[in-house]
Each structure stands twice: as structure tokens, then as C-alpha cells.
């Protein structure tokens, strides 16, 4: 139980770190994701509404890679930062075959935008 509480506290701390980025800048950076992702619906990649706090591979009906399904990741600002820095290294075998976002500030901004969008974007209303 203590371990569970600690994990939850760390996850919340990680999610809170998203607020450190600049969501407006992150929205511009998010344009790079538009070939495969959308906020409110699944495409080549899964939808992003409700991403922070979600378990990897958990969007119902989305055809994830075995690697992502087995990753045991819960998306927090911290885990998302690591994944975005180098998706293939973080989850070997992921179908997100993208070199990543090397700039830490850009990653923080992007995560801040994803966090904000999940809470306030029209596309995310009623979606998880």
C-alpha cells in the first residue's frame, strides 16, 4: 500500500512538471506530430486526449505494437519526456519510428501543451 501511494505521488509530481513548459510554444511543436496523431481521435498513432496519467498501450481499440503494450509505462511528464527524447531507445520495437525531440525545452513545452489540451481543448471534452 505504501509503495502504491508513493508511485501515485511520484506520478502526480511528474504530471505536475508539465506545467513548467510553455503550452503555447508546445502547440506549435505539436504540428510535427500531425502526420500520425490527433488530440481527439486515433490515427496511425493513438489519440492524445487524456495522455498524461494513462497507461501505455491502453487506448481501447487501438492497434499498438507488442513493444508498447508490454512497456509497463504510465505516461507522466517524466516518462513522456524520456520517450519523446528517443522513442526507439525508450521502447525498442515501437512503431513510433521517429528520431525524437532532442531539445529538452521543446519537450517540456510539448508536454505542457498535451496536458493543457487534455484539460481544455474542445476535441478532448468527454474523451480520455
Amino acid at each position: 500500500m505504501i509503495r502504491l501511494a508513493l508511485t501515485a505521488a511520484l506520478a502526480m509530481a511528474g504530471a505536475g512538471a508539465a506545467a513548467q513548459g510553455d503550452a503555447a510554444s508546445g502547440e506549435e511543436i505539436y504540428a510535427r506530430c500531425a502526420a500520425c496523431h490527433a488530440l481527439g481521435y486515433d490515427r496511425v498513432g493513438p489519440r492524445h486526449c487524456g495522455l498524461l496519467g494513462r497507461k501505455a498501450g491502453a487506448v481501447p481499440g487501438f492497434d499498438y505494437s507488442p513493444a508498447m503494450k508490454k512497456s509497463r509505462i504510465t505516461w507522466t511528464a517524466k516518462t513522456l519526456d524520456a520517450f519523446l527524447a528517443d522513442p526507439g531507445r525508450t521502447v525498442p520495437g515501437t512503431t513510433m519510428t521517429y528520431a525524437g525531440v532532442p531539445d529538452a525545452t521543446e519537450r517540456a513545452d510539448l508536454i505542457a501543451y498535451l496536458d493543457r489540451a487534455s484539460k481544455s481543448a474542445a476535441e478532448c471534452k468527454g474523451r480520455k
Binding site: A35, M96, T97, E123
Partner: protein, 190 residues
Amino acid sequence: MSSFLAIANPNAARRLFLGRSTVLLSGAAVALLSGRDVLAAKTGSATAGDVRILNTALGAELEAIAAYQVGAESGLLQKPVLDLAVQFQGHHKEHADLLAKTVQKLGGKPVAAKSKYNFPVEGLKNQADVLRFAAKLEQGAVSAYLGAVPLFANRDLSKAAASILGDEAMHWAVLRNALGENPVPVAFVS
């Protein structure tokens, strides 16, 4: 100009496209089609990772084809913009065809088009909405290929992906221009 979409026979559409297009397959793409990728696979320079990258790109190209179909059938595009959209869709069909053949040549199974795609059609009210939607997809495609180019183990595949990236960037610029925006707003893409 008749629409490629109105031609029932895909080969006829392809012939028509090739007859009209001033865009030729790049040297890299021709090299892939002529079998250098198979040679690369035999020598071990192409990997399962390369097949995975190609299949992700193929999935995005198939979705782009479907998106342009939605745009073309929306009734919101007027000529000559409609012809432009159909031409760009033709390019995506060529990309998808090449990617699928390359995946097969490398021993992989190409991903298939989905039976249904979700697009925000409720937000498409006029021609500018469709162009903006297409421009966003093309911008994303440029970034996706840019992010894929350095990942290939086989450098011929990187070159072919860069060739497609160039085509997507031209689409993006033309669409921005059609929207009255600066077609090339930055010196570098990311």
C-alpha cells in the same frame, strides 16, 4: 481536366497521372524499385527496424490518400484547387506503392489501409478549411519523414525517405500559398 478519382481503372489513372506530371521518381526511389534494396537486405544492411519505419510511413501515406479523398469528394474544392488536391493524392499513392513494394522486398508484410478513417469532417465548412487540414497533414508528414531519415540502417532507404520528404514539403508550401500564407515561412523544417 478530368479527375483521377473518376477513372475506374487504376492503371489508366496512373498512366494519365504520369503523362501529365512533370514530377519524376527520384533516383533513390528508382534505385529502390530496381532492386538495390533487395541487395541491401541480402547483405544485412536493412533491418527489421527499417521495415517497421517503412510500415509506419506507409500507414501515414494510406491515411493521407484517404484524407485527400475526403477533400476531393467534399464538394468544397473548386478547380483548379481540386485538381491540385487530386494530383497530391496521386503522389501519396505513388509513395504508398513504393513503400509497400519495398516492405515486401525486404521480407515484411505491408500494412493495409484501414477500412475506416476518422477525420474531423464536421470542421470542414469551406475550401480554406480543407486546405488548412491538408496543409497540417503535409506539415506533419515532413516532420515524420525528417524524424525517420536518420533511423534507417540502410542509407538508400534514408535517401528515398528524404526524396519523399521533399515532395511533402512542396505540397505543404503550395497549400500554404493557396491559403494566402507565406509558402516557405522558415529556412529549416523540424
